[in-house]
Symmetry: C2
Subunit: 457 residues, 2 copies
Amino acid sequence: MEAAKNDPPPLPTKHSILPKYKHTLAIHSKARPSCLSHDRETTPSFIGFRNLMVLVLIAGNLRLVVENYMKYGVLIGFSPGSFRPGDVRLGLLCYLMVPGHLFIAYLVELAAAAQARQAQAMQKKTDESKPVKLRVQWRLIAFAHALNATLCLSVTSAAVYWDIDHPLIGTLCELHAVIVWLKLLSYAFTNRDLRDSYLENHPVPEIYQSCPYPENITVNNLTYFWWAPTLVYQPVYPRSEKFRMSFFLKRFGEMIGLSVAIWFLTQQYAVPTLRNSLTAIDRLNLAHILERLMKLSTISTVVWLCGFFAVFQSGLNALAEVMRFGDREFYSDWWNSASLGGYWRMWNRPVYQFMKRHIYAPLRGRGWRHGPASTMVFLFSAVLHEMLVGLPTKNIIGVAFAGMMAQLPLIAVTLPLEKMHGTSASTVGNMIFWTSFCLVGQPFAALCYFFAYSLRN
Amino acid sequence: MEAAKNDPPPLPTKHSILPKYKHTLAIHSKARPSCLSHDRETTPSFIGFRNLMVLVLIAGNLRLVVENYMKYGVLIGFSPGSFRPGDVRLGLLCYLMVPGHLFIAYLVELAAAAQARQAQAMQKKTDESKPVKLRVQWRLIAFAHALNATLCLSVTSAAVYWDIDHPLIGTLCELHAVIVWLKLLSYAFTNRDLRDSYLENHPVPEIYQSCPYPENITVNNLTYFWWAPTLVYQPVYPRSEKFRMSFFLKRFGEMIGLSVAIWFLTQQYAVPTLRNSLTAIDRLNLAHILERLMKLSTISTVVWLCGFFAVFQSGLNALAEVMRFGDREFYSDWWNSASLGGYWRMWNRPVYQFMKRHIYAPLRGRGWRHGPASTMVFLFSAVLHEMLVGLPTKNIIGVAFAGMMAQLPLIAVTLPLEKMHGTSASTVGNMIFWTSFCLVGQPFAALCYFFAYSLRN
């Protein structure tokens, strides 16, 4: 308790029988409302409560860490035998199959390019439009691409479902197969339309002019696309000036650190919570299931955020640095999104860009309205999500599919909130997003698949 | 996933062998860093994470509510027999003693005022300075006040310590006694100096001029001070224009609601946590004590905030409305304080104002430096805190005293942070305040007194 700077107490004197300081200072000299009263014209800052919130979150979860330690001790242990050798071998085989499919796609495009060159030479001579023969050949090319891509995805999927036991290896294989499958589709679609433009002398985007069709049909060009952090094929990409080793090492270090953190968090906190929930689900004890869901929601949100950062910030930036890939917009600030629609547009830009370029926009181009075109996109995405989760865990129970399809009504509900542009509307929308996605959706899905997986094992 | 508004896909045509939409759109057209990269010039907003934090806090604590319910059911039950009739009778007696002490103080001042009037009349005639006789009489007056005030506090304290069993009744009695004691001191000091000014023709603050000394020595004036929401005596206070019934009812309703909430939270959440901690303290199991402390910290912070609002916003504003007391600055925005010093200046303005006017400023007036004067203030406050907690629980274990004295080093440590005026410095200071005060200090003190209280019972 220190005196305000503006009224220093008077110095003592010896002349009075009492020191000069008087206890008569008028402390209450004017009427004024309390700081939190509505009578006040200004609202005080509440920044201190934000700090308190952070601290209570830390204290509350630190307590759970101590409780977990007292209950379970350290659950982490590294046993190299936890992966079956057969799984590792088959996983590697699936991985090595991929260049084969890419090479086939390259050969198909090479043949198509040769035909296109021939056709253009003919056109110049005879000045006639594309012959019927070419149209038939193009259908053959499309069929060859479709067969190749489908084989790429289905062989891996079958192997993952029937032969790979470990869910982690299975998920990695399936994820890789899906990514390459999408890349093959993008490669085929883009080159078809580049060929079309080439024959019809349509203009192509300016950035492609340094490598006009069919010069882009080379093994090098396709290999770059294979490793580039994008699902959308372009003959030419914006490139960064040079490879920065320190940037790469930092991103790579982050990725390793976060992966270890995720592994630790999952083993030490998520697995016991999931295990303890099995009895609750078995007995359909609703209060207990709810309690488990809420306990899981914090850890699943933390793991999710770590995973997002590890993949989209650290991983893709590290890869992009190696590839000198210039466009690093792998995500934008989805955490502020005021609607589910905004979230899906922002969090995973590579997939969003693929969907927009190769599914949504073509459908719109064929005259579809926004609603059905969006529904198609989410249907496609829902099937892929179910494959990614259901195949490695051998539980095609449709929860991931349903979760993706449930986005459509949620997007419709939060769309008005996004359009209102007010702070409180966007706060409400943002909270709906976090609650539906991180606090309910993901832990619920995790519980479902864990329960189904445990029933099988 | 919706197309950006600025590139509507072209409409389909029948003239080409393919629809006009081309899959060749350049998605990656320029190099740009990721949203969270340091390469970016602007930092994105993180407001969404604040929302997430709120939701995780809610979910985490809702889970604890469910867990608590599954473990204990509903612990609340109202038994009117929980207060001993003897306690209630004695508590009421202590309460009713107070007007007696106030009346004695009034009589003492009445005598002093009569003398002062006489002396002034003499002075006017003889024009001499205050005689020695007056000085002796003033010492008598001071002695009478001291005796009266000391009796007021000590009789109640003794009754609370030896005869009142229930800690709640004891705390209320002791709190009331301390408040009236402080008011008696302020009344005596202020009137002494008003008298001094009256005799020496010193000017007094402007606001007092509507009721100059000795006109303020009336039963009405003292009764108003008794009920006014302040510890600092002034002959005249700023008044609000009129009593607003709706304002009063709202504040009163808030106070009742919050009191019920505090009672519920304490019974349902704090008491089981405290009970469970007894074994941990008994065995000196450090990890377990820490876990209990952290579990307690959330509930104690919530109870503390509810209590603060109930007393300082709702209670004192309701009382002030009834008394038409104008100066409602019972607190300012202490939750943002960047230092412990700031907190103690802001959270409890009535006590701060008393300390400043009647202890700190007079000591400074006598030539004390800031450090020793502050130390005196905290020493005084520490003794009162120990009395308020130690006497009703019959455990004068010195933890409240030590807690108050520990503020001095904490204030010294956080003072530089407050003076830096930077955002991060004040955030650090604010976090030190919350941690030391709400997350560690209070739950620790609660644990200590609960443990000591349980040992005795």
